[in-house]
Every structure is written in structure tokens, then in C-alpha cells.
């Protein structure tokens, strides 16, 4: 006869370390246990496990909206898509999103835009990493190569196609990209990846993650190197490190993120004595802290702070330049340093006001600092503030009709106060079939260089003789986009999903540079300035079709048909996007170990603003992967071929994407 008393009484012990919220249950369990006369059983479950109440942790107000109820078209790029696409650069995955265009001005200057209207800075897109804006306040756009972010750490990417200023504020203009990294508890243990291939591709990732209970951390180091384009001085070496700590206690979650990215980037033009081939040093870093507190009865409050720093260190001397009095020549020192800092604090409150109404509101303040003696003409930094107040309400008017209404009020030092509203109606026709109609307005605020440029190249130390390259008159207004769209989301059957969108975007007050006379300029008597001149209307249709008949097979087809009409000069805007572009990603597990995937891209002729005319682009990338186990570790080896169909022009005649192949090998240790 076994001795029932021989076992330690573990039922109360497991309850003694509970958080306050569950203390009541703990007491209940202890009480229940005490009624068990023979309660010394080590781990006997009682009926209390099935009967007792639980603390309510999830109410819908804390949950993100499903795609069918979002007020905008959303494309999700998940881990499987990132892996299967075979990309090495984050910017390249956006080719999988309907209407997205990706160009490479050089190996490390990547252009990502939606429908068009992009130069090499591509300032009309908002990009967030874990809720942190990585938009550069100095020149606008995103320095994709300089982001402290390793592809392996990304959980998923949500792309909101269309303006979204009501939620994300200024610069959520043509679209918003929301990159979400994996929770620090997601990949415990060690991870190592090494890649090597043609064009001197040498990539490496090292990651360590651990923690237990309520505290988890992750530290990732990354290295990336390649020779860039053959005809462009654009070699790059990316050294980066990112970290994340997640702590949750009771009703509170705290996230801390930090990271840096540094290294040389090739720059310059061998044929230009004023722009000699050289290496620019990049330093990019950030710190971010987020605290979330869950409220009783649903809802939460979030307080977030972040700081993003980006710096180009670029100093060199020109080659001897001939001056009007031969045989003399002059060597001019050039300082192209640019520093920008963005500080942001935001408070947000999510709540379920009534049974059919959910709401989020918040306020924030942002400080942008730009320092560039050469481009901005002042040794002092320029500081701009942006204050914002926003609210979004989701009202379930009937079982089938959902109304999303929201607005953001922003006050910017340069342009004053503006309101960006949005109204969207989602109507469920049948289960699995939803139509959406929405109207919205968004703005793009002028960046420091557009509003305050003052770039002159001095020929003598006292700067008596100079070439005034840029001089802003200032007084710019924000660019404005008024957008209307009709969408359809359908789940035709469990394996077929379809997303259709018809859109019409009217863009006003586009800021562009133009040449104007400037008598003090001794070089040519003219300078560049910025003004709100351009107008454009973008309209068209797009579709995303996903077919996944079984887990091992997946096909994602994206298509967009876009037309741009504008009062522009030289088709500046109207040819900045292709009429049609298509992407097709297909992946198939051949066996539990082998997986094959291919990505095909098609793009009609177009020209990025400032780029060369591009012809029809057809690109095919192939990837073959094999998963394996090595002792306790899970590994994957993959062979990737890019541009299988031949070299393609990506931005200008110099940047032709050559055929590239590389092998990558990853190992995850427990």
C-alpha cells in the first residue's frame, strides 16, 4: 500500500509565488486543497481547475483588428514569406506587396515606395519598427541599409496601403510599413547564420536569447558585406547589434529595445573631381522603452519613449580644381557630415467605451534635430517640434456594419496646425466576404533640408567665391493627399483569400526643387530652391490573391494597375510609377526536409524621380532549402539565386542587378 502522505504538499506551494491578480484563486485552491483529507498528492488536478473563474485578460479592445475590419488595406508579410523570398535586404521584401516599387540608387541607398512619387530619399512613406518611426527628419525617407535590424529577428511586417495619418500621423502618406520584431522569448538559446556568395557577399548573424518566467532578453549581432554594383562606388560593410528585453509583471509589460548600426559605405563618382570615391562612415542607433498597463475591465494604457540617432561622417578633399586664372588650381575641403536625432514620447489609451464601441486616443510630442553645416548652412542644429493628439473610434453599428472614424491633430513648428481625418465603413456581405469604403486625408511635413537648405561650396577659406547649390526660401506648406478607396476582402474557401482595392488619391502641394536665379552665386548665378508646386492624381486597382491548399504549398500573387496624372514637367511624377506591376511568390515543401520557393516580379516601364528610364523588368529569384537536425540543434541550409533571367536595371543605368548566388547556413541551438 503506497503511503499517500509521503508526497510533499505541492498544491499550496505552487500558489505561493503568484501575482496579486491571481492571489484570490490561489487562496481558493489552497482552500480546496485543505478540504482534501488526503491532499498530499503531488499533482492531482481537481475539478476546481475546470470550475473556478479566471482573471479576464483579453477583451477585444486589446486585440488588433482583423483584416476584414481594418479601415484600410493591409498586407501582411510573415516569416515564411521573408524566408521563401530569399532576400538579403529588408527593402526587397516589399516587392511582394501590391503596388510597391523597390529600386536601388546604389548598393546601400534603397528606394521603397507605393505607386510612385519617389526620388532616392523616398520621403512619402512612414516606416515604423516596433512602433518607432525610423523616418529621417533631415532628408526624409528611410536609410534602409542603416537600420539596426537583422532580418532573422522580424516576426512579421504589416503594410498599410494608403494614407494612414489618422493613426500614425505626419508622413503616413502613401503607405505605412509596420515592422514587428519577435518577442525575446520566441527563440531561446543560440542562433548562428553565415552566408557567402558571389559579389563578395559575406553575411553573418549571431544571436543569444534567454530568460525565464517574466523576464526575457535577446541580443543579436549582425554583419553584412558586399561589393554593391560594379559601376558604382557603393561597397558597404554593416556592423550591427540589437537587443530587446521583455518584462511582464501582473498587469504591466515593459519592453526595452536598443541597437546600433555602423560601418563604411562607398560613395562618390570616379569621373567627378568634386565627388571623389571615398568611404562614408555611418552611425545609427536607437533606444526605446515602452510600458503597457492593462486596465481592469479591458483596455490598456501605453507610454512610449524612443530616440533615434543617425549620422553620416563624410569629410574629404576635392581633386585639384581648375580656376578661371590658369595655371592655378584649388583643392577644396568638403564636409558633408549630417546628424539627425528624433526624440518621441507618446501616451495611448485603448478602451471599450460601450459594448459596440472601441476607442483609442492618445497624445505625443516629437523633437527632431538636424545638424549639417554644409547642407543647412549653420553650425548649429535645427530643432523642430511636432505635437499630436489623436483618436480613433470603432463602432459596430450593426452585426454587419462596422464604422471606423479617426482623426489626428498635429502642430508642427514649420507649418502650424493640421487635422488628418479618416472615415471607413466595413460591411460584411456574407460570412467571409467584406466590402470596405473609406475616405481619408494625410499630410507630409517638409523635412529640414527642404525648408532650411543652405548649401554652398566655397572656393576660398573666407567663402567670398562660392557656388550656392541649394537655398530654401522656406514657408513650405505640408503636402496633402486626399484618398478614397473601395475594397473587398474575401475568403472564398479556407484555402483562398482575395484582397481587391480600387483607389483614387489626389495629391496636392508636392514639394520639389527648382532652379532660380541667385546673383551672389559666382558659379552660375542660380541656385536650387524648394516649393509646393506639384499636383498628381493616382488611381487604379490592385489585388492580392493567396492560395494555400495545404500547409506545404503556398502561392501569393500581387498585382497593381496604377495611373498617375500630373501637371508635372517632363513626366516628373506621371512616369514615376509603372502601369502594371506583379509579384508571384510560390513555395512548396517537397518533404519535411526540402523546400523550394520562387519569386517572380514583373514591372512595366517607369522612372524614379531623378533616376533613368527603366524598361520592362522581369526578375526571377529561386531558393532551395534543406532543414536538418544536428544533435539538439535545428538547422537550415539554403541556396539562393537572384535575377536568374539576367541582369536588370534597378534605378539608373549604372545600377544593374547582376545575377547573384549565395549559400546561407543557419543553426538554432536550444
Amino acid at each position: 500500500m503506497p503511503d499517500f502522505r509521503a508526497y510533499p504538499n505541492k498544491i499550496p506551494r505552487t500558489n505561493c509565488r503568484r501575482v496579486a491578480l491571481t492571489r484570490a484563486i490561489g487562496m481558493l485552491l489552497v482552500a480546496a486543497a485543505s478540504t482534501l483529507t488526503w491532499a498530499e498528492e503531488p499533482s492531482l488536478l481537481s475539478e476546481q481547475e475546470f470550475l473556478g473563474e479566471l482573471p479576464v485578460v483579453l477583451t477585444a479592445s486589446r486585440l488588433a483588428q482583423p483584416q476584414a475590419e481594418a479601415p484600410a488595406a493591409v498586407t501582411v508579410i510573415d516569416r515564411q514569406m521573408i524566408d521563401a523570398s530569399g532576400v538579403r535586404n529588408l527593402s526587397e521584401v516589399f516587392r511582394l506587396v501590391p503596388g510597391f516599387l523597390v529600386g536601388f540608387e546604389s548598393g546601400h541607398v534603397h528606394v521603397v515606395t507605393y505607386h510612385g512619387l519617389a526620388d532616392k530619399a523616398s520621403p512619402r512613406l512612414q516606416v515604423l519598427v516596433d512602433g518607432r518611426s525610423v523616418y529621417l527628419p533631415s532628408f526624409g525617407g528611410v536609410a534602409w541599409s542603416d537600420l539596426p535590424l537583422v532580418l532573422d529577428d522580424i516576426e512579421r511586417i504589416e503594410v498599410i496601403r494608403g494614407p494612414n495619418a489618422a493613426s500614425y500621423g505626419a508622413n503616413a502618406f502613401l503607405a505605412t510599413i509596420n515592422i514587428i520584431t519577435r518577442h525575446s522569448a520566441a527563440d531561446p538559446g543560440g542562433f548562428v547564420r553565415a552566408s557567402a556568395g558571389s559579389n563578395n557577399i559575406r553575411d553573418g548573424v549571431l544571436r543569444a536569447a534567454g530568460g525565464e518566467g517574466n523576464l526575457h532578453y535577446r541580443l543579436t549581432a549582425g554583419y553584412q558585406e558586399d561589393n554593391g554594383y560594379a559601376q558604382v562606388v557603393d561597397s558597404r560593410e554593416i556592423r550591427q547589434m540589437t537587443g530587446r528585453v521583455d518584462h511582464s509583471k501582473g498587469k504591466n509589460d515593459i519592453e526595452f529595445h536598443f541597437g546600433y548600426n555602423e560601418g563604411p559605405r562607398g560613395r562618390g563618382d570616379p569621373g567627378d573631381p568634386t565627388n571623389i570615391p571615398r568611404e562614408q562612415e555611418i552611425t545609427s542607433r536607437f533606444e526605446q522603452l515602452r510600458w503597457r498597463h492593462r486596465l481592469d475591465g479591458g483596455g490598456d494604457v501605453t507610454l512610449q519613449y524612443y530616440h533615434v540617432h543617425h549620422e553620416w561622417d563624410d569629410r574629404y578633399q576635392t581633386l585639384p580644381l581648375p580656376i578661371p586664372i590658369p595655371p592655378f588650381s584649388v583643392i577644396i575641403p568638403v564636409v558633408l557630415d549630417v546628424r539627425s536625432d528624433r526624440y518621441d514620447v507618446e501616451f495611448q489609451h485603448t478602451l471599450s467605451a460601450w459594448k459596440t464601441v472601441r476607442m483609442v486616443w492618445g497624445l505625443g510630442v516629437r523633437q527632431d534635430e538636424s545638424l549639417s553645416p554644409t547642407y543647412l548652412g549653420t553650425p548649429k542644429g535645427i530643432t523642430e517640434h511636432l505635437y499630436r493628439l489623436f483618436a480613433n473610434v470603432e463602432w459596430r453599428a450593426t452585426e454587419r456594419l462596422l464604422v471606423n472614424a479617426g482623426a489626428m491633430y498635429e502642430h508642427y513648428d514649420i507649418t502650424g496646425g493640421d487635422v488628418s481625418p479618416r472615415l471607413a465603413l466595413n460591411y460584411r456581405l456574407l460570412p467571409g466576404h467584406t466590402i470596405r469604403a473609406s475616405v481619408s486625408r494625410a499630410r507630409r511635413q517638409p523635412v529640414a533640408f527642404e525648408e532650411r537648405s543652405n548649401e554652398r561650396i566655397c572656393a576660398d577659406p573666407g567663402c567670398t567665391f562660392f557656388d550656392q547649390v541649394y537655398l530654401s526660401s522656406g514657408q513650405l506648406r505640408p503636402e496633402r493627399i486626399d484618398s478614397s478607396e473601395i475594397g473587398y476582402l474575401g475568403r472564398l474557401n479556407p484555402s483562398v483569400n482575395i484582397d481587391l482595392r480600387l483607389f483614387r488619391d489626389q495629391v496636392f502641394d508636392l514639394i520639389s526643387d527648382f532652379k532660380r536665379p541667385y546673383v551672389a552665386d559666382l558659379a552660375d548665378g542660380r541656385t536650387f530652391d524648394f516649393r509646393n508646386g506639384g499636383k498628381a492624381t493616382l488611381f487604379g486597382s490592385e489585388m492580392q490573391f493567396q492560395y494555400q491548399p495545404k500547409r506545404e504549398t503556398r502561392v501569393i500573387l500581387s498585382m497593381a494597375n496604377t495611373q498617375i496624372e500630373s501637371n508635372d514637367y517632363d513626366s516628373f511624377y506621371s512616369s514615376s510609377g509603372p502601369r502594371n506591376n506583379v509579384s508571384l511568390l510560390a513555395l512548396q515543401d517537397l518533404s519535411p526536409a526540402w523546400q523550394v520557393s520562387s519569386a517572380f516580379y514583373y514591372q512595366d516601364p517607369m522612372r524614379f524621380i531623378g533616376g533613368d528610364p527603366l524598361g520592362v523588368l522581369r526578375r526571377l529569384d529561386l531558393r532551395l532549402a534543406r532543414r536538418f537536425r544536428l544533435a539538439d540543434a535545428r538547422g537550415e541550409a539554403a541556396l539562393v539565386f537572384q535575377n536568374v533571367l539576367g541582369a536588370q536595371t534597378a534605378y539608373s543605368v549604372e545600377t544593374r542587378n547582376a545575377q547573384v548566388g549565395y549559400l546561407t547556413f543557419g543553426l538554432q541551438f536550444r
Binding site: 478540504t35 481537481s46 475539478e47 481547475e49 475546470f50 479576464v56 485578460v57 522569448a185
Partner: protein, 338 residues
């Protein structure tokens, strides 16, 4: 000696004399009835021992009484006491008033009764299968007959519900602790039987739970909560639900409370449903010669609950619950033995 037949009678105000008389009558009646009980077809005397007093146990009793209403007090007598009363009675006069059969309601009652090693068969109810397995193991080889109606649902039923609610090819994540580990084989064979794809992660401490959820949800679409006294239980439900929420993936719970707290859905049996099944099994015992106990079985009656707000947020169509329950019942023919 006063033997309370039902609680209601005890609580009814009587004069002291009338109480004594009636108690005597009941005592005599019970004794008389117990003596010829060995005769087949005689009245079956049942002692129901509940873990404690409380609404849930009263619901079980109400369900039981309703099911046997036609034969109650004719072919069947039911006496209800709590575990505390049973233990005290057992200590004082171990074999007095021995019933033909003891029905236990709850884990605590089953433990106390089985531990006392009664001479009569014990039919456990309203306890998790894992708890019963431990008890049955302890008394293996002893003469007392033992069987049970579990409180938890068969895995096949839970997996079928997931397959019905998430059409397509949803992969199901499961986290097992030291206590639930031994059911992995059962779980896997149920998965094969229902065509579900499982990913099972084993942990030994609740501290590993969050990490394990992340690992297991990496390539699965839903987490099936399997109760475990050390790892996956009501006190860890909060962090489990929060972790899956962050991952944007649903949890299939094992109780109604889990659904209220944020699980997408759960299949569970109410106390009344368990009581009804106990009553129905008692009727079959009554009719069979030799009155053998039925084999241990999972609940015959069950309910499905879905959290509509969570469902909507995750992109499911709410209002399918009735349909789900019906289709699940149609598919459920096997439930007795796993």
C-alpha cells in the same frame, strides 16, 4: 442515531420529539432496506460523497436526481454527504450503514473514499482523468471495484472541435508539464484518429511556460490548453493567454472560465451534464445482473462556448457556436474509451 437522508429534511424545523421519531423511522427503514440488498432486483442504496458543499456540487446532484427521478426511492436510494462527514463517519464507525455503491463527486471526495478502502464499489465522477488514473494506479490489484466518469473532455473531441472551427489545416500546439506528460501517447493517437497535426512541447516548470508557448506557436495556429497541476493551470492562464494574444493566435480552453478570460472557445461539461450521466449510468447498473460498474468514460454530454469578441478580433465568424456543437455531437460516437 440521526441519519440525515437529505439536507432539506435536516434543515426543516421540527420539534425535538418529532425529529427523534422521524430519525428513528429513517434509521429503521434504512437498516431494513440494507439487509435484503444482496437480493437481485432489490433497492440499490447509494452513498454520494461530494468534495464539499457548493453550487457546482448541488448542480451535479440535481442532474443526478433528475435522471433517476422515476426510480428514486423505489429502486434506488440516494444519500449525500460531504467528504468531511464521510471521513469522520469512517473514523468512528467504519462499516456501519454500508451502502451498495459509493459515488464520489470531485477529486477530493474520490481521494478520501478510495483511501478508506471501502468494501463496496466506488464510482468516481466529476474529476479529471489524470486524477483518476493516479487513484486507480494506487489501488490496482485490490478487490474494490473502481470506475469513473471524468470531468475533462476526450482529446478527440477537443481536436475535432478545433478542426471544425478552424477549417483547413490548422496545426495545434500543446504544452505538457510533468503531470500531463503521461497523456502524450493518448494525445498523439487521438490526433491520428482525427487527422490533426500536433506540435507538443514538454516543460518541467511553469517558468518555462512563456518560452514554450513562443516555441510551440511558431508553426502552429492554435494552442490547446491541457490542464497540468504544475504548469498549465488557472494561475498560469493569465500569462498563457497574454502570450498567445501577443502572437495573435487563439487558445482552445478547457473550461467555460477560460473562454470568458480570453480563450477562443472551449468544449466542456457542466456539473448538471455530469450529474445526468451519473444518474443514467446508475440506471443501467440497476438493470444489469450482478450490477457491474461501467468502464471509465468521458462525459457524454457537453457544451461549446465561444468568446465572440475574441473570435471577431481574430477574424472568425461569430454565431457559429450552435452549429459547431451540433456538428461536434454528430461526429462524436467514440467518446467512451480512450
Amino acid at each position: 442515531m440521526r441519519i440525515p437522508v437529505t439536507r432539506a429534511k435536516v434543515q426543516t424545523p421540527h420539534t425535538r420529539a418529532r425529529r427523534a421519531v422521524s430519525a428513528l423511522c429513517i434509521f429503521l427503514l434504512t437498516t431494513m432496506l440494507l439487509i435484503p440488498d444482496i437480493v437481485a432486483g432489490a433497492r440499490l442504496s447509494i452513498l454520494v460523497v461530494t468534495t464539499e458543499r457548493g453550487p457546482a456540487y448541488e448542480e451535479v446532484m440535481a442532474g443526478l436526481r433528475t435522471a433517476v427521478a422515476d426510480v428514486l426511492d423505489k429502486k434506488l436510494s440516494v444519500r449525500e454527504i460531504s467528504t468531511g462527514e464521510f471521513t469522520r463517519a469512517a473514523e468512528r464507525t467504519p462499516d456501519k450503514n454500508a451502502p451498495d455503491l459509493i459515488v464520489t463527486v470531485g477529486t477530493g471526495a474520490a481521494l478520501a473514499v478510495v483511501q478508506s478502502r471501502p468494501a463496496v464499489p466506488v464510482y468516481c465522477s466529476f474529476l479529471p482523468q489524470s486524477a483518476y488514473a493516479v487513484l486507480a494506479d494506487r489501488v490496482r490489484g485490490e478487490p474494490a471495484r473502481l470506475s469513473a466518469i471524468y470531468l475533462d473532455q476526450p482529446f478527440a473531441r477537443q481536436l475535432r472541435l478545433i478542426r471544425l472551427a478552424l477549417p483547413g489545416h490548422a496545426r495545434i500546439g500543446v504544452i505538457l508539464g510533468p503531470d500531463s506528460r503521461k497523456i502524450e501517447r493518448t494525445l498523439r493517437s487521438s490526433a491520428i484518429a482525427t487527422g490533426a497535426t500536433l506540435r507538443v512541447e514538454q516543460i518541467s516548470d511553469e517558468k518555462q511556460l512563456v518560452g514554450a508557448i513562443h516555441r510551440v506557436m511558431d508553426d502552429t495556429e492554435i494552442l490547446l490548453a491541457v490542464p497540468d497541476a504544475l504548469v498549465f493551470n488557472r494561475s498560469t492562464a493569465q500569462s498563457a493567454l497574454l502570450t498567445t494574444y501577443r502572437l495573435g493566435k487563439p487558445v482552445a480552453g478547457y473550461s467555460r472560465a477560460y473562454v470568458t478570460a480570453g480563450a477562443l472557445f472551449a468544449v466542456y461539461s457542466t456539473p448538471a451534464q455530469i450529474g445526468r450521466q451519473v444518474g443514467e449510468e446508475l440506471l443501467t447498473i440497476l438493470d444489469k445482473p450482478g450490477r457491474p460498474l461501467p468502464v471509465p468514460s468521458y462525459p457524454r454530454y457537453f457544451s461549446v462556448e465561444m468568446n465572440e469578441r475574441v473570435a471577431r478580433s481574430l477574424g472568425f465568424e461569430p454565431g457559429q457556436v450552435g452549429d459547431l456543437t451540433r456538428r461536434l455531437a454528430e461526429q462524436t460516437t467514440e467518446i467512451s474509451h480512450e
